[in-house]
């Protein structure tokens, strides 16, 4: 579900990283150069970026700095050089972590999870399960419980609920939800949000006509009651 961007010039490593991390549930794009990586990221920001340091053309440090100027996306350096000087330079440039090739996929994946947890706003420890009244949300497992019964949500409904949960208690406007759930370049009809909120309510509210979890704030948007 989270969108991952890999910037790595070695085809074999790029492919193996891609396959390994797709297995971990990421939606992966991969490019061989910093320039392409920046273009991709500008077009559709990723939730995580993996970047090599030694790249043809613009190098990894420059790439990191450029991405930092665009936003605060978590950046992990994957480098062949196990050198303190490089580590410090990369972190100073704005990277969040630095792992040395050859990477253990399990470790990389754990580091990505830790980073995402930390980067995603209020980042509470490692609950992996969040409660909002009767709703129990398990993002890792991709499942939701109402009371103790399973409810099946579609992908869009699930992402919608997750976004609301990440900012629970705070109002999110329709435009914000469009950006976060559907993507950044959508200028679609904001009523689309209403429809999916309605569908979501039918599944996670005891009385969908009088929602207690997914609450409308008239004129502003929606929020998830804490």
């Amino acid at each position: 579900m989270p969108r991952l961007l890999i910037v790595e010039d070695d085809d074999r490593i790029r492919l193996s990283l891609r396959l390994a991390l797709e297995d971990e549930g990421y939606t992966v794009r991969d490019v061989p150069t910093a320039e392409e990586g920046l273009a991709e990221h500008r077009a559709a920001p990723a939730d995580l970026v993996l970047v090599d340091l030694m790249l043809p053309g613009m190098d990894g440090f420059e790439c990191i700095r450029a991405m930092r100027r665009l936003g605060d996306v978590p950046i992990v350096v994957v480098s062949a050089r196990d050198d303190t000087h490089d580590v410090v330079a990369a972190l100073e440039a704005g990277a969040d972590d630095y792992v040395v090739k050859p990477v253990a996929v399990k470790e990389l994946s754990a580091r990505l999870r830790a980073l995402r947890r930390r980067a995603s706003g209020s980042g509470e420890g490692a609950p992996a399960v969040r409660r909002f009244g009767e709703i129990e949300l398990r993002p890792e497992a991709g499942e939701v419980l109402l009371g103790d019964e399973h409810v099946h949500l579609t992908r869009t409904e699930f992402r919608l609920l997750c976004e609301l949960a990440d900012q629970s208690g705070r109002v999110l406007s329709r435009q914000q939800l469009l950006n976060r759930v559907w993507g950044y370049d959508v200028y679609g009809d904001e009523r689309l949000v209403d429809v999916h909120v309605g569908r979501l309510r039918r599944k996670v509210e005891r009385d969908p006509a009088n929602p207690v979890h997914v609450v409308t704030v008239r004129g502003l948007g929606y929020k998830l009651a804490t």
Copy 2:
């Protein structure tokens, strides 16, 4: 002066870490056991925690989980074991980073800086809640409390209250309020403000006939009493 807590049982390593990181500008406390670390953290939360994994008594994993339950303080593991399994377990337990001894102080310091940057960025910036007498205003949540009971405001009433709150104690003329709340550049009817002030008072004043929060300043406008 960020406060750093070191939990490490080896006296020599603990001392050298302490000295090195004090040089980097941290205010350091150090303890040799997880139990003491937790007690210290409970007594006065640190901004960063360094923890060893192999500790006498309660081990590092337990220590991390316990601290996670207390809050979202950034935690870095400093361990002698360079083992993927340990790294994954520590990160899953809630750690943010994992470095292997012997540590390069420059790298550790850079990692701490990167982590602090990340943790403070997404952490709680402003309290986002303002009090005026009995009124509690939460712009993020789009909600207002009078005492401890929720009051429902319409969008216009909410904006009106926010504008008054932004300039609390100072008088705002009807024209200023029209400009800020309604965005008019036209000279609309100033009586419109009166009507909404009246409606607002009915909701946020115990005795709307004798308002103590939203106060009229005859001939000038309105202000929000501090």
